[in-house]
């Protein structure tokens, strides 16, 4: 029996103290963790339920125009917050392209940041998986690896990070606020998730007991609001993880690109920020050639980890498309099918 303690702390310090013990896991909405526990891929010895902690469910605007989002804010609530969606449209679009309406109503900001890979070999207890059982091997290598990583993978792990939300967050220099046994600190989302290297079990840079209490998007990220998109390719129109996805945001002044942000999803064990590609666009007039060049740079180090060479070309193309759409401008209203390349006309709010 997977016996575990269930603790419902009354305050953040209590939560941190409870979770500092080995084998603890924080429980938010549980849309990912409870499934993993039922399947046996996660077997925490102690669940620290943070759903009733006060003060984690607020969206707070900062004087400088940045925003601080509590870790327990629900995905749907954030996506449908008008000011948030208007200021960080690519983030809202990513949120609405993820999971299903029911899951978005339950899932939380902090939980989404902490979700685990969908690699089937991670979930299948009969398979070797270094991420689940360090040192056991990686059965995804040489297996059914069509959707696995093409960037930043190692022979120890070829899993991808499944989040849509984290992709534009990474692009926009979002930061998480963390409370831990040694106090409060901040971690850039880009530094939160780790590439596998030789220690794929180390999925994030959080230390034992550390709790994400809030997510911050800086004021500078708001400067991209007029030219920001998230685009996601998937194998059905809703309720499917990305084959590949991309967030692209541009700051255009006088016809030239002043700043660019590009991140890819579904290609690596973390949301993949393409800084070289971003830099390549600065000061150039926006053009197809520039976008193609940027896309090539973004995927320059990509190599297939299995039957997935197509993802490299697909990722290049989606970078080009996301940049093109960003250049065209953020839609006035959320596309009827958020993040879908097939939903080009702004439509009614997404209901699917």
């Amino acid at each position: 029996m997977n016996r575990f303690d269930y603790i419902r702390p009354a305050s953040i310090p209590e939560a941190v103290a409870a979770a500092a013990e080995q084998g603890s896991a924080y429980l938010a909405a549980g849309t990912n963790l409870l499934d993993l526990m039922k399947g046996g891929a996660a077997r925490p010895q102690r669940l620290v339920d943070i759903t009733r902690l006060p003060g984690l469910d607020r969206i707070e605007w900062q004087p400088d125009g940045g925003v601080r989002v509590g870790a327990m804010v629900r995905n749907a609530d954030l996506a449908y917050d008008e000011r948030f969606a208007g200021t960080f449209p690519a983030v809202a679009e990513a949120l609405l392209s993820g999971a299903s309406a029911q899951l978005r109503n339950a899932a939380t900001v902090g939980g989404n940041l902490m979700q685990r890979t969908r690699c089937a070999y991670f979930h299948d207890l009969a398979s070797a998986c270094n991420r689940r059982a360090p040192g056991s091997g990686c059965d995804a290598l040489g297996g059914e690896s069509r959707l696995h990583a093409v960037l930043g993978w190692s022979e120890h792990c070829i899993a991808t990070h499944p989040s849509d939300f984290c992709v534009p967050l990474t692009a926009l220099d979002a930061v998480v606020e963390v409370e831990g046994p040694h106090g409060r600190r901040e971690i850039a989302v880009d530094a939160l998730h780790m590439l596998p290297g030789a220690t794929p079990e180390q999925e994030t840079s959080l230390l034992p007991g550390e709790l994400i209490v809030a997510l911050r998007l800086p004021a500078e990220a708001a400067a991209f609001s007029r030219n920001a998109r998230y685009l996601k390719l998937r194998e059905r129109t809703s309720y499917a993880f990305a084959v590949v996805s991309a967030a692209a945001a541009l700051k255009i002044e006088g016809g030239a690109i002043r700043a660019a942000r590009i991140a890819l999803g579904g290609v690596a064990a973390k949301p993949w920020r393409a800084r070289d590609a971003e830099v390549s666009l600065v000061s150039l007039p926006a053009s197809p050639e520039a976008f193609i060049h940027a896309a090539n740079l973004a995927l320059a180090e990509a190599r297939p980890s299995g039957d997935n060479a197509f993802k490299i070309e697909l990722a290049r193309r989606i970078v080009v498309r996301a940049l093109t759409l960003a250049l065209e401008g953020t839609p006035e209203t959320m596309p009827a099918l958020p993040a879908s390349p097939l939903s080009m006309n702004p439509g009614v709010n997404h209901v699917a």
Binding site: M1, A126, E235, T237, S238, V243, F310, R317, R321, L342
Partner: protein
């Protein structure tokens, strides 16, 4: 028989059949008050959970039974070491539709998710934990997962007993004489049953009497099979199948977990419930087997077929045979002087495949309709014109007349509604206002019309209402609504005056709810039972001097609106309740056994037909596909309830979309494990995938298929649709994808 049929129709005046009534059980279902089999919790019930294999082939060498037994709440652990004997050898097939089953007969493992033990406990949680504690150890052998390592063999039979090879004419000569030959291989994936309601059973023994609450598509057949397994008389088995949350063929056939639950109930002398988890559905309850199909089509200079050769390699298990009769999809559809359908089989370490909505036809049609599209392309012909040029006026090969065939009208009506005539011949020539590639494709739909023997009883009651009974199954599609309409029509009553009892094996045998034949089979029995009840009522009336119908015996009476009328004088009539009251009868009972007349069946080819037209939009750079329109036109004889029939067509077409673009069990090539055995990763369409759907009900009168003129509508919608979508994808992109489902990477060209 035929003449009798025609005459009988004169006595049928009900207006109920043909009405678009809503489901009788609709409110119960949408309010959550419909009681499904697994909702039953008899006093003292135990929960059973199967422990399942995680290897595909080998032996279980150890199970920690002690640990499982020691877990609080666990009552019994059943393994090959203590499983009580069965009266029927599970390694022997049980005809007609029985398969070998895995019921702990030995320690061998034949596929992933095979039951290797059963844990029975006071709670579901304890049983689940007990199963987890078994910690099986294996001696694994290498899994056979594909044509490269599976054993190829020539199957003695395909489907449920059809010959593996059917030849008409000389295909090689036809190909040699052809102006053009198109040849290609098409691959279809394994698809697994994912009915909303997983397989479940609540088993109770009372001495040697067995009661089973379970969703079931074939009550009488299942009773006989369970009786044989447990060595009891068939009349000792009662199956109650109140509703099915989807059946699709998999709930027509016995499976190992169910039998084990019954074993446990007998062993422990307590009721036992077993419900499979979603993941456990991927193994012991049948699936649509993989196929590799090669088609060669010869055409002459006018675009007429000179030969059609369809070869299917079909996966089956290592220990039993269900061979998708895929190549037979090429037999009934297109006129060709030479047609050859042949099947080869491949043994893999998988659960035995089985029927899944349109078995054979779905996979076969997917390949055939793409191949026909390729042949049309080679001939430079419009795909619809090409099919019309090869229209079969009589059954190809045999020359038998079709009992009815309004396929031409389906082509015309569907094409008109879709706007097909505006289709450019060349691919990759249409774009929408956003620059997306647009493609139009079509396919022909066809499904055979089986008819199962069935029985029914109709009771006219003193209050003028009726009770009709037949042991049938409503899989959610509204069968019991349609059946009540048929009965009401025969009885001259409104449907709300007719109480239908069904779903219990103690009622007259309603046949099998499969093969799209249930409405016709059970419906005919109900109709005839209603006729019989009316005839008995008329006998009372015409012999009663006090009745206005006295002496009308030779002239005959007509039943309508709860009254019998003299045939020659409609003004002389009497209500059913008055007739019964004066005769001092509380009821009059009619019964019927109905079957298809074998002579009529022999003389005719019987099929439902249709034409499906698809529009897809494809992102030219990113390969993302979305079906934007589907129009199907179907002719399936007489339509009892157009609302429910349209819904059946929609369901079939949506499954066709699923087949074309989404569904596939991803099987690890090394271990044989299915890596996406859940509804998050095994994709079926969501609402946002389902496009504008249009199903046209093309009128068709059939005097031969059965006296009701009813064909079947349950499965035909898949056929045609898969090919139509694949052909539309080609028309949009110029890329011919021959492996299903079509994936994004298939379309990353240029």
């Amino acid at each position: 028989m035929l003449h009798e049929t025609v005459l009988r129709q004169h006595a049928r005046h009900g207006s109920n059949a043909g009405q678009p009534l809503t489901r009788r059980d609709g409110v119960l279902k949408v309010t959550g008050r419909a009681t499904y089999a697994a909702d039953n919790h008899p006093e003292g019930m135990l929960y059973a959970v199967t422990a399942v294999s995680r290897i595909a082939r080998g032996r279980v060498t150890a199970l920690d039974v002690d640990a499982a037994r020691a877990h609080p709440g666990v009552v019994e652990v059943i393994t090959p070491a203590n499983r009580p004997p069965l009266a029927h050898d599970p390694d022997e097939k049980m005809p007609p539709f029985g398969f070998r089953v895995e019921v702990l007969q030995d320690d061998s493992v034949r596929y992933v998710n095979q039951p290797i033990a059963l844990v029975v406990a006071e709670t579901l949680e304890a049983a689940t934990e007990g199963a987890a504690l078994l910690n099986p150890q294996y001696e694994a052998e290498s899994a056979r997962t594909g044509p490269h390592n599976g054993e190829h063999f020539a199957p003695p039979a395909i489907g449920v007993g059809a010959p593996p090879r059917t030849a008409h004419g000389d295909v090689e000569a036809g190909l040699a004489a052809a102006a053009r030959v198109t040849e290609a291989e098409y691959v279809t994936p394994p698809q697994y049953h994912n009915a909303m309601e997983p397989h479940a059973v609540v088993a109770q023994w009372d001495g040697d009497r067995l009661t089973l609450d379970m969703p079931n598509q074939a009550l009488a057949l299942s009773c006989a099979s369970y009786a044989a397994y447990f060595g009891i008389p068939v009349e000792n088995v009662v199956i109650r199948s109140p509703f099915l949350g989807g059946g699709f063929g998999s709930k027509a056939i016995l499976n190992g977990p169910h039998i084990l639950a019954i074993v446990a109930a007998r062993m422990l002398n307590r009721p036992v419930k077993l419900a499979l988890t979603r993941t456990q559905m991927y193994g012991p309850v049948g699936h649509r087997g993989r196929t590799w199909q090669k088609l060669r089509i010869g055409t002459d200079s006018d675009g007429r077929l000179t030969a059609l050769h369809h070869h299917a390699l079909c996966a089956t298990s290592s220990f039993d045979e269900f061979i998708e009769p895929a190549a037979n999809a090429s037999l009934p559809l297109y006129a060709s002087p030479a047609i050859l359908s042949e099947h080869e089989a491949l043994r893999l370490d998988i659960g035995t495949p089985g029927p899944m909505r349109a078995p054979g036809e779905a996979s076969g049609s997917a390949a055939l309709e793409v191949a026909m599209d390729e042949a049309a392309e080679a001939c430079g012909m419009d795909p619809l014109a090409f099919r019309q040029a090869n229209y079969a006026e009589t059954e190809p090969g045999t020359g038998r007349p079709f009992s009815s065939k309004a396929l031409r009208e389906c082509y015309t009506e569907g094409a008109k509604r879709f706007g097909w005539s505006r289709r450019p011949l060349a691919p990759r020539t249409m774009r929408d206002e956003n620059g997306l590639l647009v493609g139009w494709g079509m396919g022909t739909a066809v499904f055979h019309c089986p008819h199962f023997p069935a029985q029914a009883r109709a009771t006219l009651r003193a209050d003028g209402s009726a009770l009709v009974e037949t042991a049938g199954a409503d899989m959610g599609q509204g069968a019991w609504t349609a059946l009540a309409q048929i009965a009401a029509e025969a009885l001259g009553l409104e449907p709300d005056q007719v109480e239908l009892r069904s779903g219990i094996s103690t009622l007259p045998d309603g046949g099998i709810a499969g093969g799209s034949g249930h409405t016709a089979s059970a419906g005919l029995a109900l109709h005839n039972a209603g006729d019989d009840a009316i005839a008995r009522l008329a006998e009372i009336a015409v012999a009663d001097p006090a009745s206005p119908l006295f002496g009308a015996g030779n002239i005959g009476v007509v039943a309508r609106n709860g009254r019998l009328h003299r045939r020659d004088d409609e003004g002389r009539s009497e209500s059913y309740s008055d007739i019964l009251a004066r005769a001092d009868r509380s009821e009059v009972i009619g019964t019927a056994k109905a079957a298809r007349d074998p002579a009529v069946a022999e003389a005719h080819a019987m099929f439902s037909h249709g034409a499906v037209f698809a529009e897809v939009k494809v992102d030219p750079d990113l390969g993302q596909v979305r079906v934007s329109r589907l129009v199907g036109a179907f002719a399936a004889g007489r339509i009892i309830n157009p609302r429910l029939v349209r819904s059946q067509y929609f369901g079939g077409m949506i499954w066709g979309l699923s087949f074309a673009l989404q569904e596939e069990a991803i099987t690890d090539r090394r271990t044989g494990r299915i890596m996406n055995a859940d509804l998050a990763e095994y994709h079926v369409p969501v609402n946002a995938d389902v496009p504008s759907l249009d199903a046209i009900l093309v009128p068709e009168d059939d005097l031969y298929v059965n006296p009701l003129g009813v064909k079947g509508v349950g499965e035909i919608g898949i056929t045609g649709t898969v090919g139509a979508i694949a052909n539309a994808v080609w028309h949009a992109t110029g890329v011919r994808v021959r492996r299903f489902p079509i994936r994004i990477e298939d379309l990353l060209v240029n």
